[in-house]
Symmetry: C4
Subunit: 205 residues, 4 copies
């Protein structure tokens, strides 16, 4: 089957979705209502109670940036886009575009274990989509750039399964120790991914 | 008449709209209000009642992706963009950009037959726009790429009328049997379109 | 002064804004609340009362498309982007990005003359921005493509003043005859602009 | 370390975010509720009370445009995008994407000093991100275009620290004199930046 998607428009479509999600996140933080509009102190207290929302917003913002980086690196080793890549990518974007909802949930109910679990679940679904997207390409090596190292790529695909879903799910399980641990875990995982050692190029030297 | 639209900017404009719609859909799912913020069980029940909203969101997400794929394939066979293509495309995007509304309606009133019918109507209006867009190009074959097969293209245009509006409208009519059938029908139609057999290239071999 | 903006990124920025505005418009149409969620008749009545919102949404969608077409044509005759073009364009986008507000106002208060007047005012401010953007380029002919006809361009600039703000303002004034005339006028003006005769290429034959 | 980001997709991602933020701002202005829907006078009064929201919207719209111009100019002197640039840019976009919140706060509580201070704080965080982004590039001169003047660039980096955060923070401090001064200060700073003298090219003649 020949390539039916122009890689350019496919990337623009994905990038557009990433850019919109990262920006929509802030819409979930609503201006608080206070009784005395001129009182800085009352506004300060009201903003202080929004702290979980600010935190969950920052975590999700950075998480979507990490996903974008991984997505970008993955696209770089693809030569062309077939139906399989398109639809696994669409499933991936489905979970990414859902992130504003668990983010808002975590911000509204920071002390509720289910909010942390749902957040972890959605991110692990996203991680699984990355895995299936990569597995599809592993099985159709003709989709890879000639410069890409297939063995490295397959090894990386197995690693994604561990570093993605497994990390998020074990992280999410920690909410049973204390619900607020969800914030610590998700922020740590994201910051860990920001540093370059955690990523690879899958290209032949 | 010469081409007055650069195909590049025209595609970027359309892609932007698709990417935004697909992402805005999640904004219609609001965080539920619960009495005891720390109760996972109460939150679970509240989320359970949002199930129709999650379902209608997934259906619309995948449907917009299918429309994007069809749009992308169609653009590939166009050589240049004239006023007719631009405005039929604008009408198409008008209906696509309206999808968040019937999606939210279906999610809020899953047991209401009118919600299913309106959803089917909007998608069939979208299908009709595809038909008129293609018919305009069929009548101005100079707008097609030299590699495109005009006879195939015209045959495909007639098929769009059957597979698009007709499928959605008969699907929508099933809500009179049971309102929840709307979800089954729209999800089935979308999944059917995801598999490659349902689409064609309209290019000479 | 040399060109400091890459035309490509400048156009992408403008196109992004157009695509987002045209899509955000639908967010102003909220799902109505009905007492019996399963009653198609009650839902029908509720949707019927939303008619002014649907109408104002369609008018604004088509209007933004018309503005995009004009913007696209204008950009085509520019050779490079200087500070003047950037900031007149930013002012233009400011008014375009405001359109969702008067659109929602017109949809919520269709019988209120002020809603129609505000809509006409915003669109005429947008038209004035087009005029000043063009006037700036008329006075710096080096910003035009060598193929562009300066005399034609200047004539077109004066026409913009008449067909843009003047048309909208006289249209808006008709709400004093009857508030609902606003819908008729704005839809008519937009449809008039859709047909190609109303636009020109400003290029030497 | 080799460049792992394609500058093109990186710019498209950033531009998308800028375009979305600038457009989302208007969503914070809600249609007012009035008792007599047909009364132009009552609507006029209701709109008059929205004046602080309109003002804060215009200020933020122009501010985001100024940031975009600075971002655009900065990107022009970069040769390639490394991890450092990507993540300092992500931090920059984090603060930019937060702007709708302090904008809405300022519009809702114009007489509250904390609203003005928070606005100034967020913009100065944004300014600091610009500074750190530039400092990172100053220390890795290989990331600059060969045509760029390193000495000029480093001098500009130090100036950013003064003209960005310092200007916003001293501006923000003026709310202690009178809260409404926030509007005057932020609008003045933005308009000051619009005029070309305030910016530089950092390129060798």
């Amino acid at each position: 089957m020949k390539a039916i998607f122009t890689k350019n428009r496919f990337e623009a479509f994905s990038d557009g979705i990433f850019a919109i999600i990262v920006t929509l996140l802030v819409l979930e933080i609503k201006v608080p209502h206070i009784k005395d509009p001129a009182s800085p102190w009352e506004l300060f207290i009201a903003l202080f109670y929004l702290l979980p929302k600010f935190l969950s917003w920052i975590i999700s913002f950075l998480t979507v940036c990490v996903i974008w980086v991984n997505h970008h690196r993955l696209m770089n080793v693809f030569r062309s886009i077939d139906h399989g890549i398109f639809w696994w990518n669409a499933i991936l974007l489905l979970w990414v575009s859902f992130i504003p909802f668990p983010t808002a949930l975590l911000g509204d109910y920071p002390g509720n274990q289910l909010a942390g679990i749902l957040y972890a679940l959605i991110l692990s679904f996203m991680g699984f989509s990355f895995y299936f997207l990569r597995r599809h390409v592993s099985r159709h090596p003709g989709l890879l750039q000639p410069s890409a190292d297939l063995e490295e790529f397959r090894k990386g695909t197995r690693l994604v399964l561990i570093f993605g879903p497994l990390l998020y799910l074990t992280g999410g399980a920690l909410v049973f120790v204390h619900p607020y641990l969800a914030f610590v875990v998700f922020l740590t995982v994201t910051i860990y991914f920001i540093f370059p050692h955690a990523t690879k190029d899958y290209e032949k030297e």
